[in-house]
């Protein structure tokens, strides 16, 4: 049998030692009716080679995105240096668990300490946890944490937060019945309009930077408005943009969350990625998840250990700040290694490549007849286009020409649903004109030739008229 080690003689020896006559004796506590019913009915196991053949065939049935794929919408394709994969795949990191025994886990503890430092440096915050599941659940955890800190039970969420993240927030909020108020986007710019109409009893204002339409939000006035009503500003930020944009911390945010998938993680159909949560020192004891601190050992040597565990479920149980136990440590390691390779200059350079290429492509596309920006706000590496035809039809025609031009806005809403709980109204609403809107993301993986191919194919498709692009 694969992966088990005993021979039949070994098993006999162990059974004799225990005083059992057969394996049946070992399961005598299980009621007969359950034993009889437990027929798995799975196919027989395959050899390693056959397993590989099967999985190869499945992988081959997928179409792998290439240089002319412009998909983003919350998950971005970036180049991952070979050293990242090679190091993060090391057994010593991959086959260990949570560093409960620090004396034999300094490797894991130190790389988490480095990850915490990187997230603080990127976001302009004082401290960061050791990772959360993803950016969407990190936003929900950030909201809960802000409510614990402000002793309130309602949040305001910008309509610029990714629809799937808003849905996760709503799911999490449905348990404790947290009220969710929606903050509308300004029609023309696509920026969060402000707190007009928002009740003054919200404890958290949640925005995304850049927002899901690609628009760079003006965070400072939102921070001031949130603070004026006694709420905290929680910013879900694409950390890749922070090689270019001012930090949420410097602009007044109290909690910064997001997904560090943009460093070191392959897209992997959406996961595993790596959520993070960073905040100001004042909220340290409300933070969810693991924290690693520097300390000294008995010999006085600097070392690292898990700390402030009295916040966590294994100690505090029902009074914990979150139920999280397993996190995304290995993905956080990949992100840390990628950031170490990039350094401050590489991070800025990568952001500049994305910015330059995205703006170049957007300008050329908006010069095509009938194409215009869906919203006019400033953007980083992703922009929304209003097409003269349906975005889904345009995409199909473009894909026939070898270009996946982006995600139709409708697709984001198709993957979400109105959901349950308070605050459901208004959250899943599509912006007007969404059917003709396309979100296009550009990274260093889209070379200039791919931008040219995009423009050429788009001219062709649009010139052919609505019969090609219904």
């Amino acid at each position: 049998m694969p992966y088990t080690v005993h021979s039949d003689q070994d098993r006999r020896r162990l059974l004799d030692s225990i005083g059992a006559s057969s394996a049946v004796d070992l399961f005598a506590q299980i009621p007969r009716i359950l034993l009889d019913a437990a027929v798995l009915g799975l196919p027989p196991g395959l050899s390693e080679q056959e397993t590989r053949d099967r999985t190869d065939a499945l992988a081959a049935a997928d179409r792998v995105p290439g240089p002319a794929s412009f998909l983003g919408a919350g998950l971005y394709r970036h180049f991952v240096p070979a050293a990242v994969r090679s190091l993060a795949a090391r057994s010593e990191f991959a086959t260990a668990y949570t560093p409960y025994q620090p004396e034999v886990s300094q490797g894991t503890l130190e790389h988490i300490f480095e990850f915490q430092t990187c997230m603080c440096e990127l976001t302009g915050m004082d401290l960061s946890n050791a990772s959360l599941y993803d950016g969407a659940s990190a936003l929900a955890e950030g909201a809960f944490m802000a409510l614990r800190s402000t002793h309130r039970d309602a949040v305001a969420v910008s309509a610029g937060v990714h629809p799937e993240a808003r849905e996760v927030l709503r799911t999490y909020a449905s348990g404790p019945q947290i009220a969710i108020h929606s903050l509308a986007l300004h029609d023309a710019t696509g920026r969060t309009g402000g707190l007009d109409g928002c009740p003054a009893d919200v404890g958290a204002v949640l925005v995304q930077q850049p927002n899901y339409l690609g628009v760079i939000e003006d965070l400072a006035p939102l921070a001031d408005a949130a603070h004026a009503i006694g709420a905290l500003l929680v910013v879900s930020v694409n950390p890749s943009s922070l090689g270019l944009l001012e930090t949420p911390g410097a602009l007044g945010a109290d909690i910064a969350v997001g997904d560090a998938q943009v460093f070191g993680c392959s897209p992997s159909f959406g996961g595993p990625t790596v959520g993070f949560l960073a905040c100001r020192t004042a909220y340290m004891r409300q933070i969810p998840g693991r924290l690693v601190s520097q300390t000294v050992d008995e010999d006085g040597r600097l070392c690292y250990t898990l700390t402030l565990q009295a916040r966590e479920q294994h100690i505090r149980r029902e009074k914990a700040t979150s139920n999280i136990c397993s996190n995304q440590a290995l993905s956080a390691l990949a992100a840390t290694i990628h950031l170490a390779l990039l350094g401050p200059a590489g991070l800025a350079q990568r952001a500049d490549i994305c910015l330059q290429r995205a703006h170049h492509l957007q300008a050329r596309l908006c010069a095509l007849p009938g194409v215009q920006p869906f919203v006019t706000g400033p953007f980083f590496n992703e922009f929304s286009l209003l097409l003269p035809c349906s975005a889904a039809g345009f995409r199909t025609a473009m894909r026939d020409r070898g270009v996946d031009p982006g995600v139709p806005l409708e697709h984001l809403f198709a993957d979400t649903h109105p959901g349950l709980g308070p605050g459901r109204a208004g959250l899943a609403g599509r912006p007007p004109g969404a059917g003709r809107c396309l979100l296009t993301a550009v990274t260093e993986l889209n070379p200039p030739e791919a931008l040219d191919a995009y423009v050429a194919a788009a001219s062709e498709v649009l010139a052919a008229g609505p019969e090609v692009a219904p």
Binding site: H6, L71, S174
Partner: protein, 493 residues
Amino acid sequence: MIPGPLEPPIFAHSIAGHQGVDLPAAGVPRVEPAVLLPGVALRSAPPLLPRVAESQVVRHYTRLSHLNHCVDTGFYPLGSCTMKYNPKLDDEVAALPGFAEMHPYQPEADTQGILQLMHELEKGLLAVTGMHRASLQPAAGAQGELTGILMIKAYHRDHSGSERDQVIVPDSAHGTNLASATMAGYHVVELPSSPRGLVDLEALRAHLSERTAAIMLTNPNTLGLFEEDILEISRLVHDAGALCYYDGANLNAIMGKARPGDMGMDVVHVNLHKTFSTPHGGGGPGAGPVAVTDRLEPYLPAPLVTRDPDGTYRLDRDRPSSIGRVKAFHGNVGVLVRAYSYLLRMGSGGLTQASEDAVLNANYLRTRLHGLFPVPYDGPCMHEFVLSASEHGAGAARDIGKRILDFGMHAPTVYFPLIVHEALMIEPTETEDIATLDRFVEVMTRIDTEFRSDPDVVRTAPHTTPVRRPDEAHAAREPVLRWSPEARPRESR
């Protein structure tokens, strides 16, 4: 002067002008960011990231890796965590571009392979658990718990049970159970265990009421004991109008032997990083798929993968009663791929053998050790068992755990479950051979002897590890949670 860490953090390796990667030119006419982004606040100071050459980055993380104990270097009997061997094949499969490079917003025509894989994995998990449908979305066991309890809440709302506001949890339960129930907005009612360490049926009857929404059970429980009265438990719970949540943390004991669905469970989460052998990653990522009976199916997080009659796979988004997403996109798919590869390799026979050997190994260790350290709830165990070191004095469980590290093994889980004093929870798993088990017995025997002959060697352990015991009180009092050039603790402690 305080000695530095064995390997200084990557930031301390920084040298001005060094960089670990080079990037392509943008290849388009450059425009100043301030011109492209008028009125936008641009970064005023660069982040303090390290400036390090690739070779130095590789050395740093390779050296760091040498400071870890892991399954691939030695025995890791961390109870309740199922630290079994993680097949290399599964890592290779997950790295195939047809899985690793896929974007979640590709059209379904592009993603038939990965959708088929997810669909077949779901079917495999349903076979093992005896359930009706499953969502692969939850990223870990605890997120699976939250998902399951929110589904139970939605079910009660739709079946005039909104006044049910309590979740019953045995006092032997994992901390996540209580924390998840609280996050879902429930009050937790703790159920005292019977003298045999099982659910006390009388106590259960007394605690069940019209306020009970659910019971959360781990079976086998955290003492490694199978709940013999499980069918009576689920009957009592259902008669009270409540539902049964099954924490699948210990599923590795019972594959092919008992199925939660047959036990009367309504919701089950499966920890793929435990039972299905995916690497624990130093804390994650894991995956915590949630399987349910038919009456809870409408509440599963959407979308689900379905297979149309023509054999094409698609995402079924039209699920109006769904509690909603718990995670963006489709879950920790890279982990799902590994679990699928494991499932293919094992088949029915392999999974059943794995559980048999896991239980065999645990019982072997238990019978070899229970003369040295009492097993408070003794008798045949499933895949793990709990020793008590209370006869060796306060702090003995901690100290024994530390002393075990000196022999190239990881410590058991200590001080859990809470109902055993000085608990050492030992889970050997099926992938350990007799020689390793015997070596562990030798180590435990030696430590027991040391308590009489040289207790200090245990009380001050470990002695041979990369670092000695960290000062945790100091860390909690004055946490230093990030590197800075000045971040060194004061000399006085």
